[in-house]
Symmetry: C2
Subunit: 106 residues, 2 copies
C-alpha cells in the first residue's frame, strides 16, 4: 500500500478528498465519505477516522454519537493522489441504518 | 447488497457519481472512478465497467486500451444513493502503473 503523506494529497476545489473506508478484517467496503486536510491529520493523530461532513459542513468524528468508532489501521493514497483508502477496525455498524456497511439493504 | 437501480442514483451537479471498484475475488479495492447515467447503463448492458473520465471528459471503457477489462459481477448503491460499489472480476492490473490496485506503491 502507498502510505498517505499529507502533502501528496490532491484536494479538490472544495478542499476535500474522497475516502473509501474498508474493514481491515472482513475487507468489506463500509462507506465512502470525504475529508479535508485537517480531518486527515486528526485521523492520523487520534487513530480514529474523522471525516468532513458535506451536508453539515463540519468536522465529523465517526462514532461520536453512536459509539461505533472506526479505529484506524492505515491511511493510503491512490496513484494520482486524489483518493484515500482508509483501513479500519470497527466494533459496530458503519451505517446509520444499523447495517454493517452502507451498501446493504436496510 | 443493495442492487443499483438507475433511478435511485443521486448524481452530483456534474451528472456524475463516484464508483468504488472492488475485486469480487480478492476483495481488494482497485480504484475509485466516476460514472454518469449512460456509462452505468452501458456497464450493466455489456457486463464490463464503463466509467466517465473527468480529465478527458468522455466515456471510458476500462480495458479498451490495455485489454484488462473489468467484468462486472454486480453494481450496488449506498444508503443515500450517492456512491456506487462495483464488484468486478479482472484478469490484469487495475492501475495504469501496472500494479493490481491504484493504492499500491509503483
Amino acid at each position: 500500500m502507498r502510505t498517505l503523506k499529507i502533502d501528496e494529497v490532491r484536494f479538490d476545489e472544495r478542499g476535500l478528498v474522497p475516502v473509501v473506508t474498508q474493514d481491515a478484517h472482513t475487507k468489506e467496503v463500509l462507506m465512502l465519505a470525504y475529508a479535508n486536510r485537517e480531518t486527515l491529520l486528526e485521523s492520523l493523530e487520534i487513530k480514529k477516522m474523522v471525516y468532513f461532513s458535506r451536508s453539515r459542513n463540519q468536522r465529523w468524528l465517526k462514532g461520536e454519537t453512536s459509539g461505533n468508532y472506526q479505529e484506524l489501521a492505515s491511511l493510503n493514497l491512490d496513484c494520482d493522489g486524489d483518493t484515500v483508502l482508509a483501513m479500519v477496525h470497527t466494533s459496530g455498524p458503519a451505517c446509520h441504518n444499523g447495517t454493517s456497511t452502507c451498501f446493504e439493504e436496510d
